[in-house]
C-alpha cells in the first residue's frame, strides 16, 4: 500500500471514542492513512456515550492550562461543525445556583476565573433574577452566576459524525478489536490484536479508560487512570417545562454537586454522581447513588419528583493522576498519548485533534496522501427541536417508511432504524440503534416497540435476534 516497505498505515489510533474519532478525522483530512482500533463493537461505546451532553465554554477550567485552551478552541470548532453536520445543539445557557453561604461566597471567584478563561459574558445574578429566570427552582435557591455560552448538544451524533467523515475519506475502522500488545520497530509500530498485527508509522493512544495500559505497553507511566463512575437519571419529556437552562452546582471543597440539564432529545438529565472505583467495567447504578441524585433533584427542582423517570445509567469517566489533560509525544517511539481527557472531552475533541496534529507536525511526521477538504457528513436529525422525519412531509412522501412509526415514545420511524443499520458506520447492536435513532430510549423502554425493533434490526443487519439480545444457549 505504501512505498518503501510493509507499513500499512500512517497512523493507528487506539480508541474509537469521541477523541479517537476526532483525531482520526483530523489526520485523515490532513492526508494520513488511518486505522482506528477499539475493543467495543461501536464507536463512542465507552466513556463517550454516558456524558452530560454539554457543550462547555471552559469557564471553570484552570486558566492557562492546556485543558482551558483546548476547551475554548474546541467549543468554537464543534459549534460550527455541529451546525454544518445537522447535529442538534440548543443554546440554552447555564445558571450556577448557590444554595448556602459557602456556595454564595464562591460566586465572585467563579466570575473572575471565567474572565481569565476568556468568558467575559459570565456574570453574577441576584437571587430575585435567578428565580425570575427559573421559576421552578426550589425555595432555598439563592443568587447565582449566568454562563450564557454553556449549551446542550447531542453527544452521540458528534462521535458518529467524526467516524463517518473519517471512514468516508478512507479511514479503516476496526471495531471489536482489542489491542493486546505493542512493539516498536524501525519503520514504526506493530499493534497486536488477537487475530493479526497492524503496522503503523505512528500510534495515537486515545484509549480513555484504558489509556494508561496502552502507555504501559510502551514503557510509559506518565499517569494512571481511575474510573470515576457517574450515575445519571433521565426524566420524562413532560419534565422539560421545569427549566430553560442548564442548572449547574457551585463546586465547593466538600462536593462538586450535581446538575440538572435539558437535553437535545427533550428530556431532563440529573447527575452525575462521582465515585472512584477499581473496576473499569462497573457501569451499574446503585440504590445509594440514585437516592442521592433524587434528593438533590427535589431540592433543585421540587416538581421533578412528580415526573416519571425514563432511564437511569452510569458512565465511567477516565480520571487521571496527575489530573488535567495528559497529552505527550514520544518522538523516538512515534507515539502520542492522549490521556486525562475528562468530561470536557466532548467539547474539546476537535481541538485535541488539532493539538495532536500539531505535535506530529513538530516531529516532522509526513503523510502518504494529500490533504482533503470534505464537508461534514449530514447526520440524521435527532434533536427534539429539529424537523424529524416523522414531521417532514417531504421525506414521508419520498419514502413512506419515514411516516411509519416504530418507536412511539421517541417518534422514530422504521425508515430511520433501517438507515442506521446500513449507514457507513452502521449500528450492529441494539445500543448502536438506540444511539443512532433514539428508538427504545423513551418512556416505555420497549413496552410497545421492543419486539418490533428487535425483529427489524435482526432482519436489516442479518444478525439473529438471539445474538442481539444475548439469549443464553
Amino acid at each position: 500500500m505504501h512505498p518503501g516497505g510493509d507499513v500499512e498505515f500512517d497512523v493507528a489510533v487506539v480508541g474509537a471514542g469521541v477523541v479517537g474519532c476526532a483525531i482520526a478525522r483530523h489526520l485523515a483530512r490532513a492526508g494520513a492513512s488511518v486505522v482506528v482500533l477499539d475493543r467495543a463493537v461501536d464507536v463512542g461505546d465507552g466513556t463517550s456515550k454516558a456524558n452530560t451532553a454539554i457543550l462547555h465554554t471552559g469557564f471553570d477550567t484552570e486558566p492557562g492550562s492546556l485543558e482551558s485552551q483546548l476547551v475554548v478552541r474546541g467549543r468554537s470548532l464543534l459549534a460550527d461543525y455541529a451546525a454544518a453536520a445537522g447535529i442538534a445543539v440548543e443554546p440554552t445557557g447555564a445558571l450556577l445556583v448557590a444554595w448556602d453561604d459557602e456556595q454564595e461566597a464562591r460566586l465572585p471567584s467563579l466570575v473572575d476565573k471565567a474572565a481569565a478563561n476568556g468568558c467575559a459574558d459570565v456574570v453574577l445574578v441576584g437571587a430575585e433574577e435567578v428565580r425570575a429566570r427559573e421559576p421552578h427552582l426550589g425555595p432555598a435557591a439563592r443568587s447565582g452566576v449566568s454562563v450564557p455560552g454553556e449549551w446542550v448538544i447531542d453527544p452521540w451524533s458528534v462521535t458518529l459524525a467524526f467516524a463517518t467523515e473519517a471512514v468516508g475519506i478512507g479511514t479503516v475502522l476496526r471495531l471489536g478489536t482489542p489491542v493486546v500488545g505493542l512493539d516498536v520497530g524501525d519503520e514504526g509500530l506493530e499493534v497486536r490484536t488477537p487475530d493479526d498485527v497492524v503496522r503503523a508509522r505512528w500510534l495515537v493512544n486515545a484509549a480513555g479508560l484504558g489509556a494508561d495500559r496502552i502507555d504501559e505497553m510502551l514503557g510509559h507511566r506518565d499517569f494512571t487512570v481511575t474510573p470515576r463512575r457517574g450515575q445519571l437519571i433521565v426524566f420524562d419529556k413532560l419534565a422539560r417545562r421545569l427549566l430553560t437552562r442548564i442548572l449547574l452546582p457551585v463546586p465547593t471543597a466538600r462536593s462538586k454537586g450535581v446538575l440538572v440539564s435539558p437535553t437535545t432529545w427533550g428530556n431532563v438529565l440529573l447527575g452525575p454522581t462521582a465515585e472512584d472505583l477499581e473496576d473499569r467495567t462497573d457501569t451499574a447504578t446503585t440504590a445509594e447513588g440514585m437516592a442521592r441524585l433524587l434528593a438533590d433533584g427535589r431540592r433543585i427542582l421540587p416538581d421533578l419528583g412528580a415526573e416519571e423517570v425514563t432511564a437511569t445509567y452510569a458512565g465511567l469517566r477516565a480520571a487521571t493522576e496527575p489530573g488535567g489533560y495528559q497529552i505527550h509525544i514520544h518522538g523516538d517511539q512515534r507515539f502520542v498519548s492522549v490521556g486525562g481527557i475528562r468530561s470536557t472531552g466532548l467539547t474539546s475533541a476537535m481541538a485535541v485533534a488539532e493539538h495532536v496534529a500539531g505535535l506530529l507536525d513538530g516531529a516532522v511526521a509526513t503523510w502518504s496522501g494529500r490533504p482533503v477538504a470534505t464537508p461534514p457528513p449530514v447526520m440524521p436529525p435527532l434533536g427534539e427541536r429539529q424537523v424529524r422525519p416523522m414531521r417532514d412531509p417531504v421525506r414521508i412522501a419520498a419514502d413512506p417508511a419515514y411516516g411509519t412509526a416504530l418507536c412511539h415514545c421517541e417518534q422514530v420511524s422504521r425508515g430511520e432504524v433501517r438507515d442506521a443499520c446500513h449507514a457507513s458506520v452502521p449500528a450492529t447492536d441494539l445500543g448502536g440503534v438506540r444511539r443512532r435513532t433514539r428508538a427504545m430510549n423513551g418512556r416505555c423502554q420497549g413496552f410497545y416497540c421492543g419486539a418490533e425493533v428487535v425483529a427489524l434490526v435482526a432482519a436489516e443487519t442479518g444478525t439473529r435476534a438471539t445474538t442481539l439480545t444475548r439469549v443464553p444457549r
Binding site: 416505555c444 410497545y448 444475548r470 443464553p472
Partner: protein
Amino acid sequence: MSDPAVLVVGAGPAGLSAAHELAVRGVTGVLVVDREASAGGIPRHCDHTGFGVQDLHRAMTGPAYARRLADRAAGAGVRIRLSTTVAEVGADGSATLVGPDGIDVVRPRAVLLATGARERPRSARLVPGDRPAGVFTTGQLQQWVLLAGLPVGRRAVVVGAEHVAYSAVLTLRHAGVRTVAMVTSLPRHQTVPAFAWATRLGLRVPLRTSSRVASLDGHGRLEAVDVEDLVTGVVDRIPADTVVFTGEWVPDHELARRGGVVTDPATLGPRTDGWGRTSRPGILAAGNLVHPGETAGLAALGGRAAGRRLAETFQRATVRPAVGSLLTVAPPLVSVVPALVDPDDLPDRLLLRTAAFTDRRLVVARQSGREIGRHRLRHSVPNRSLGVPGAVVGAMVSDGGPVELTLI
C-alpha cells in the same frame, strides 16, 4: 382528508367501544386512529380467555376480542385508520396525524383520548444495576413471544403478583421459559385464588411475598436478580437470565397533558367526570388512560359510557368540560375514578384502589364531615379494582365541597 366529527385516539377496548356507541347512536364521521398496524390494543397480545365477559357477555381470547371490537365498530360505520400517530392535539382542538401517507391536520368537533396505559419499566422503578438484556415488561414480553416470535431465555423472575403477573408466567411458559420466582412487596398475591394456587402448585412457581428486587446482576445479559426480604433484610441472589416487571400501570397521558388537560395526582390520568369529560371542552378521555390497570371489559364499558353521553348531546351543544364535586380518598385508599361527580348525573360506578391489604370493607362517603352514603366491598385487595355503585355519593350536595371516601 375531511374533518371527522369525532376523533378517537386509540383503537383499544375503550376507543373502539366509544366509537361503536357513537356510531350506533347516529353520530356520523367517527374516526378511530391507532399507531399500531392492527386494531384492538393490548388484548391483541393477550392469548388467554376471559375477554368480553363484562361488556359483550361472552368469553373469548384477547386476539378474538380485539378483532370483534374492531369489526363491530367498522360494521357500525366507524372509520379506523391504523399505523397512524396522533402527534399533537392543539389548543385550538386540531389534531396532527402522521402516517405512511403523510401528515394531516384535522379539526374534529370532539377528541376522545383512549391511549391506554403501560407498565412502569425497570428504569422508572429505579432498580439498581447495569443495563443487561433480558429485562422485560409484560406488554413487551407478550409482543415478543406472541406477535414477533422472538426467543426469550431460560429462567425468569416475575416481579409482581397481580393478575398480569400470572399472565406473564403463562406467556413465559409458552416461550419455554421457567419462572423460578415471583416477587411481590405485598404480604400476599393479588389475583384470584385459583390462579395463585395453580401457579404455585401446578407450575411450581414459588411466590416471595414482602420482598422486592434489590438489584439486577449482569452486564451484557441478565445473570441474577437480587431479591430482598423486606422483613428480615436478607438478600438472596436468584440466578436468572430474564426478569419481567409487571403491573404498576402508568397512563399514556402525554397527549392529554400536552393538550392542557388537568390530570389526577393519584392515577396520573386525566381527571374526568363519569362520562369522560375532562377540564378541556371538546376533549374527552376513557379507558385505562383514566383508570390504569383495569380490565379490558371495564375500559370498554367506560368508553361506551363516554360515547353514549357524547352522542346524546353531540348534535345540539358544544362538548362542555367536566363539572361536579371532587371526590377524594383517605389511606389506605389511593384513588377514585371518576374524580368529579355531579349529583344530578351520577355515574353507574366508582372505581377505587387500595395500596394495602385491609380487613376494612366498608366504604363511607362524607361531605363536609357529614356521612352521605356507605357500601360494603366484596374484597379489599391492592392492585385490583374495588367497584362501588355511584349511588354511594348520591346524597351529596352540589357546591357542598369535596366528598371523601374512607374505609372503615
